[in-house]
């Protein structure tokens, strides 16, 4: 049964390579759809209690490849499929702009299909070696997707940065797997549990840390986040959406799977994850607020949301560490639900940014403005996604953050490690407030006011085919926000894998909470509609329009508006230690001033310290050996020859020396 996926993928790869460019997109959509349906069917069965297990024979190399789909894998498969499907729907429209580059287009779609295959494999397979192979396939296909515009140097550099960091994460994960398989001799995932159970508990902790670092690089926790803000802006919009929505969740899946497989030390692990996540969340959103490139802003924001998911995981781990099942349930449920939510609204935001980019050809917020009148649908989608990402009711972000808060405050009320948890709660509140600032800036500067920069050409809104995936996502967001009980029921199966004790009592407690929230949210919606109705009734008097009040100033122009930089200026002053500020401006010199400009850009200081400085020094060191690379093929062959000769000669010489010394001894 699991062989269906590779076969379908390969078949469609051939088809895509051979058809006309216009049809390639449709073929890709079909392929993704078929694969998604198949794996979703398996996943839904697993969530309903019917686990899917299968065993493939991998020959001498792999041994036995067990394929198990439990609740955790099922949840991730479902959210992956949804985002991949909306991604390819939107991507098909986005790529229409590039219809003439047939080979690049084919390669792109093929990489997308391979990516889906790899992701399905990661969630299905439980054999270390096969897992590593599919992981590598995912990393490489993602790289191919990112560097679609490989003509631009920046894109290529960002892609290579991503590839290198992907491989560092691969090294850590491989290290963990090799450790286990060398100790136990088996490639199966259950060997990890055996290893952790019989050995010293510190060994299990160290093993988990190794895995955690590998998966954290993929997920984007601070300080392993430096590839995210470069890779996401460089990729085309639908790829950024898929990467942010799905690919970084693979790291979260890895961490959760390892938590399931290594059941000791959860208390210490929980504290560690909580600490890193709070730092990631605050740091991510702090840097997101000062960005002017919309995609980079969204990329940094993804780091914040990964931090929030991590807070949920940390709370859950603490809960299972102290055997408080409510904590475990609330924490893990919040984390899993936020994983789904984030994939939804972040992918929607990236699709909107793609629509913006194709309409206005710029990603710089400072050059946009007043687009709500020309692109009302996009504005509405962006608004809903922004409200959801800030965690505001009545949308889904609030539900998952509420679950995490519920866990946090329950821990405080129970008196469990109050200092840590209260600081985490404060940190979470701070990220919420900062996210508010970030997205009011983004939405306000892009869509509201008047245009800050003259645009070449007409701007019109995207067509229905482009907007359809967006509206699908909005429907899903609204569903989760308005009917959270349903999703808590679906979540029960995966979360119960983590919490050991029977959780019926906690589940009903949380389900009751969800009922209340649902009622409150519906109440809010009804209130808004009611008030609006009253307002319309009362507003039947004089309605005139005029220009914005300018305190008597008659010459208002778009330049008087607040820019993004000015919106966050006081805030940027507060976070000066974290960023490197670069200001370019021209000052007024004459009596009659000419046009001047001022531009402020903020760079991530952590990245400068962690990545740029070591790389620079490494380059300087290796530069001293540049003379070896003189371009002459014959020198290179000579190097090869010398190496072979040395590698053959050394054992011979050692042999000879031993022989001689024996001879001398005998004398």
């Amino acid at each position: 049964m699991s062989l269906v996926f590779p076969i379908v993928t390969l078949a469609f790869m051939l088809i895509i390579a051979l058809v006309k460019p216009g049809v390639k997109g449709t073929m890709a959509v079909l392929a993704v759809g078929i694969n998604a349906l198949a794996s979703s069917w398996v996943a839904i069965n697993a969530l309903l209690g019917q686990l899917f297990t299968e065993s493939l024979n991998g020959g001498i190399v792999f041994g036995n490849i067990p394929i198990r789909v439990d609740g955790l894998s099922a949840w991730f498969i479902l959210l992956t499929n949804f985002t991949l499907f909306t991604g390819i729907l939107y991507g098909r429209q986005y790529m229409k702009r590039y219809g003439d580059q047939t080979t690049s287009l084919s390669l792109h779609y093929i990489s997308f299909l391979l990516n889906q295959l790899a992701l399905t494999g990661i969630y299905f397979i439980q054999n270390s070696l096969a897992f590593l192979c599919v992981w590598e396939l995912m990393a490489l296909s993602a790289f191919m997707l990112v560097i679609f515009e490989h003509g631009r140097m920046k894109t290529l550099k960002a892609g290579i940065n991503y590839l290198i960091q992907s491989h560092i994460s691969f090294a850590f994960i491989a290290l963990g797997f090799i450790w286990v398989s060398a100790s136990t001799g088996s490639f199966d995932f259950s060997a990890i549990t055996q290893y952790a159970a019989k050995g010293v508990s510190e060994a299990g902790l160290l093993l988990f840390i190794v895995f955690f670092i590998g998966f954290a690089i993929k997920a984007g926790f601070v300080p392993f986040h430096t590839w995210l803000p470069h890779a996401h802006p460089a990729a085309p919009a639908h790829v950024s959406g898929v990467m942010s929505g799905v690919l970084i969740k693979v790291g979260i899946y890895g961490i959760l799977r390892m938590l399931l497989l290594i059941p000791d030390n959860h208390l210490v692990i929980g504290y560690g994850i909580l600490l890193i996540s709070v730092i990631s969340g605050i740091y991510g959103v702090m840097l997101a607020t000062v960005q002017h490139n919309i995609k980079r802003l969204l990329a940094y924001h993804s780091i914040e949301n990964i931090g929030i998911i991590g807070i949920g995981i940390g709370i859950g781990a603490i809960g299972s560490g102290i055997h408080n099942s409510y904590l475990a349930f609330a924490g893990y449920a919040g984390a899993l639900l936020h994983t789904l939510n984030h994939s939804l609204f972040k992918s929607l935001l990236f699709y909107c940014s793609g629509i913006l980019y194709q309409a206005t050809h710029t990603l710089n917020i400072e050059k946009l403005g007043g687009l709500i009148k020309k692109m009302p649908h996009t504005a509405l989608l962006f608004l809903i996604a922004a409200l959801a990402i800030c965690g505001l009711p009545p949308f889904n972000g609030f539900i998952s953050e509420f679950l995490i808060y519920s866990g946090l405050f329950h821990a405080i009320a129970a008196g469990q490690s109050p200092v840590f948890v209260v600081l985490a709660a404060g940190g979470l509140a701070l990220t919420g407030g900062l996210a508010l600032m970030c997205f009011t800036k983004a939405f306000g500067i892009i869509f509201l006011g008047t245009s800050r920069h003259p645009h070449a050409g007409e701007i019109h809104d995207a067509g229905i085919a482009t907007l359809l995936p967006g509206y699908l996502i909005v429907l899903f967001i609204a569903c989760i926000g308005l009917m959270p009980q349903l999703f808590l029921k679906i979540l029960r199966n995966p979360v119960e894998l983590f919490a050991e004790a029977p959780v019926a009592g906690d589940y009903t407690g949380l389900a009751g909470l969800m009922q209340h929230i649902s009622l409150a949210v519906w109440g809010l919606a009804v209130l808004v509609i009611l008030l609006f109705f009253i307002r319309i009734l009362a507003r039947n008097r004089m309605l005139t329009t005029g220009s914005t009040w300018g305190c008597g100033y008659e010459n208002s122009s778009p330049k008087l508006q607040y820019t993004a930089g000015s919106f966050i200026r006081s805030y940027a002053g507060l976070i000066k230690p974290l960023v490197i500020t670069k200001k370019h401006n021209k000052v007024i010199t004459d009596i009659i001033p000419e046009a001047i400009y001022s531009e402020t850009n903020y760079y991530d200081k952590a990245e400068a310290g962690l990545v740029d400085w070591p790389v620079r020094n490494l380059k300087a060191l290796l530069g001293k050996f540049k003379f070896l690379q003189n371009g002459s093929v014959q020198f290179y062959v000579l190097y090869g020859l010398v190496f072979i000769a040395i590698s053959i000669a050394i054992p011979m010489i050692i042999n000879a020396i031993q022989y001689l010394s024996q001879m001398i001894k005998q004398l």
Binding site: N630, V637, L638, L641, P651
Partner: protein, 209 residues
């Protein structure tokens, strides 16, 4: 009989060291092809008939006839001069090739394998290193291909050593031949004459990163 053929093979390696003209290189490669045909015939007589016929045909047709013809065609087509221009003088070449043969002789002595007869090993190794040496020290680009052919002959010899036990290995050796012919066909037949005016390896340095 095999020993004699293989010794003549080794001598042809030394002869390449002192050869001056491009045509001589091509003739030596064809001659080595014939020698290998003989060795293959004697050595592989026990294997499956179809496979044997295939190997023999390939040796004769591709190694001894087709590839030298290709090379001659390229020489004519691109107006490559007759001189093979080495970086080092012929005397030094001969010395080095002799040293290579001696080295592989010592090396073969340290290998205590009962399957591989020593002489095969010596010849294979010498051919390998001689091929590499030719690539290093000749100025023209086309001599790189010739050096590769010599390396390949060496590998073929080694595969023949165990060929009666593992015939598949010989087929792998033949794949190398086919690889070279494809390269010649694809790259050299038309392109390189048009793209590079000079046939000088020094110009390849411009491709440096």
């Amino acid at each position: 009989m095999i020993n004699i053929l293989l010794i003549i093979f080794t001598i042809s390696l030394i002869y390449i060291g002192i050869a001056n003209r491009m045509l001589t290189y091509i003739r030596i490669i064809a001659f080595q092809g014939f020698l290998l045909f003989g060795v293959a015939f004697i050595e592989l007589i026990e294997i499956n008939v179809v496979n044997l016929v295939f190997v023999l045909l390939e040796t004769i047709v591709i190694k001894a006839i087709l590839i030298p013809l290709f090379l001659k065609y390229i020489l004519d087509r691109n107006n490559i001069t007759r001189e093979a221009e080495p970086f080092v003088s012929n005397f030094v070449s001969v010395v080095i090739i002799t040293l290579i043969i001696l080295g592989s002789f010592f090396l073969a002595n340290t290998i205590l394998d009962t399957y591989v007869r020593k002489i095969f090993f010596i010849v294979a190794f010498s051919a390998l290193f001689t091929g590499l040496y030719i690539i290093i020290t000749r100025r023209k680009i086309i001599t790189h291909v010739m050096g590769y052919m010599i390396i390949e002959n060496g590998v073929f010899v080694l595969s023949l050593a165990v060929g009666s036990k593992m015939p598949m290995l010989v087929n792998t050796g033949i794949l190398l031949d086919i690889f070279v012919s494809v390269i010649l066909l694809g790259i050299f037949a038309d392109k390189i004459g048009d793209v590079f005016e000079e046939q000088d390896v020094e110009q390849l340095r411009n491709l440096k990163d």
